[in-house]
């Protein structure tokens, strides 16, 4: 569906994107992750045809973005970081203009505009000037704009930025729904969001792809040992010695001592062995009550920090 091959972009001497390649399959939701300045927006701008790459090739639906821009652009709906709204138009006027620009047949325009406005819930804002819309609503009008013309591919640059938590959930559900019929690339710096929506993740750092896989595979391949955080009331020293005797446990450490003799421990164990039951029985036998126990599987955040940041950042729990 979308094929990006050896894409490189220089701004003067500054290399923003360095030889990246990946493909997005039809109907897939791909998450594009990276710290600020990693080259996310540049990549999106190139694959929507707004910028030209220094070298490399982008094909959308078999159409090269440089050689057949018209055909390629027809299949893309793009929501840039700042929704490209004409502030002096009402939301409805704006969407009418975009529909015309995208060549939506006259007969279908009203119907399609009504549909996208309902989808992103801006019907009651139709006659407000974009100037007077809040950030969240502007974002939604921008979203509606990207959906017009029913493009096969949606490119969304930080689609939930500036929305309140309720709207974020709505938009996420909308993206997940749209993912059934559209191919979607979305960039984000909100990791749980990417984890929740995306089927595959590309982590990009300093213009280079640092990792590319499903969120689950990423977690698995980046976990060297599974870790367990336990909150127990009991003596620190005996706790650690007892816990270390459990088969499969490699290490047990008190990371924090709290009031009332409550210890926060972190256990490291073999990824193959589930030590939770044994931990429970050992502690119960000694009448050390467990107040909390949860596994510290590496989140996408850990992986993100590990692959993008300096080495030490990866150890943060």
């Amino acid at each position: 569906m979308i094929e990006i091959r050896n894409l490189t972009k220089y701004y003067g001497d500054n290399c923003a994107v360095n030889d990246i390649s990946f493909t997005v399959n039809k109907g897939e939701i791909l998450g594009f992750l990276g710290p600020n300045g990693a080259g996310k927006t540049t990549t999106m701008n190139i694959l929507t045809g707004y910028l030209s790459a220094t070298s490399g090739k982008v094909t959308i639906n078999g159409h090269d973005i440089l050689e057949e821009p018209q055909e390629a652009k027809k299949t893309i709906g793009y929501l840039p970081e700042n929704p490209p709204l004409y502030l002096d138009m009402t939301a409805l006027e704006y969407l009418k203009f975009v529909a015309e620009l995208k060549g939506v047949p006259r007969a279908e325009r009203a119907k399609q505009i009504g549909e996208v406005m309902r989808l992103v819930r801006i019907t009651d804002m139709a006659n407000r000037l974009c100037k007077n819309l809040s950030k969240g609503y502007r974002q939604r009008v921008g979203f509606a704009q990207a959906l017009l013309g029913n493009p096969d591919v949606l490119v969304l640059d930080e689609p939930t930025i500036g929305l309140d938590p309720k709207q974020i959930i709505e938009i996420r559900n909308l993206i997940r729904d749209l993912g059934k019929r559209h191919t979607i690339i979305l960039s984000s710096h909100i990791l749980p969001e990417v984890q929740a929506i995306c089927e595959r993740v590309v982590i990009i750092n300093k213009g280079i792809i640092a990792a590319i896989d499903t969120p689950e595979n990423l977690s698995r391949s980046f976990s060297k040992a599974s870790r367990l955080q336990v909150l127990v009331q009991g003596p620190a020293k005996e706790l650690t010695t007892k816990l270390r005797t459990i088969p499969g446990v490699k290490n047990a450490e008190v990371v924090l001592e709290k009031e009332g003799g409550i210890q926060q421990l972190v256990l490291e164990s073999d990824p193959e062995v589930d030590v939770r039951k044994s931990v429970f029985f050992v502690l119960a036998d000694n009448r050390w009550p467990i107040l909390e126990m949860r596994s510290l599987d590496p989140t996408l955040e850990d992986i993100f920090l590990q692959v993008t940041g300096p080495q030490t950042a990866g150890r943060r729990s």
């Binding site: 003067g12 929507t48 030209s52 490209p84 004409y86 502030l87 002096d88 015309e100 620009l101 704009q145």
Partner: protein
């Protein structure tokens, strides 16, 4: 084609969503009305064509920059340029659409001067073919200047700078005409005094004349003289159209270039 129309219509209507469209119309009607009535009061005749020519030689310096300064610079500042350039519209369609938007505004403004023509006809004033010539010249000159303005607006995302660039180019063209004969004779005198190449007086005069003509050549206003007096020729019209085409082409190149080396 429908994309060009969509862009042109949006741009045309946006003039009336801020004071700018009304300000332009007000300036034009005010100055036109002033010239019309002062002609009537002092000379007891109406000269609708002459009014237009007077306006085109001075007021264009203000009207054209005002009309064109927003075209591309505003799009860039608002980020709406992304919408246009990632839509199926080609760069040429975007440029032509935006240009037509300013042209529609210009034609609307020009049409408002028909009031004076109607008044002249109603009161049995002097209406002849010269007025038609003046209108044609006025519109073609305006069309060429608008393209210069659109070009200036594509160079910068600052409207004020765009306006200043447009003003400077138009003013420069006018100025070149004003200093053309002086520059020509100065050059021939200079060459005569230096006498480096052993030129005869006749040759010196020819060089001076060539410089004068050369400086006059690109100036659009000098090409209006015949039209103004009711002589219709193709060459000045072609000149204006080429000038417009040239600047629109350059605008397209500027936009293309920015895609390759942005930021």
């Amino acid at each position: 084609m429908h994309r060009i129309q969509a862009i042109a219509r949006r741009d045309f209507l946006s003039y009336y969503k801020s004071p700018i469209g009304y300000v332009i119309l007000a300036i034009f009607v005010l100055v036109n009305g002033f010239l019309f009535s002062s002609n009537l009061l002092s000379y007891r005749y109406a000269d609708v064509g002459g009014q237009l020519m007077a306006i085109s030689s001075i007021l264009f310096l203000i009207i054209i920059p005002l009309m064109t300064m927003r075209t591309f610079s505003e799009e860039r500042r608002n980020g709406t340029e992304t919408l246009l350039l990632t839509s199926p519209a080609s760069v040429a369609e975007v440029v032509i659409g935006k240009y037509l938007g300013t042209l529609y505004m210009f034609l609307t403004m020009t049409a408002s001067s028909l009031i004076f023509l109607v008044i002249t006809v109603l009161f049995d004033g002097n209406v002849d073919i010269k007025i038609l010539g003046s209108y044609i010249g006025f519109i073609f000159l305006g069309a060429a200047y608008l393209a210069i303005g659109v070009f200036a607006s594509s160079v910068t995302e600052n409207q004020v700078i765009a306006a200043v660039i447009t003003f400077s180019i138009i003013f420069g063209l006018m100025l070149a005409d004003g200093i053309a004969s002086i520059a020509g004779s100065m050059m021939s005198t200079f060459l005569g005094n230096v006498n480096l190449f052993g030129l005869t007086d006749l040759q010196l005069d020819k060089i001076g004349q060539a410089i004068t003509d050369g400086l006059r050549w690109p100036n659009p206003t000098t090409r209006l003289a015949n039209l103004e007096s009711g002589i219709f020729e193709l060459s000045p019209l072609l000149f204006f159209l080429s000038l417009a085409a040239l600047f629109l082409f350059l605008t397209g190149r500027i936009i293309e270039k920015r895609r390759w080396s942005q930021k």
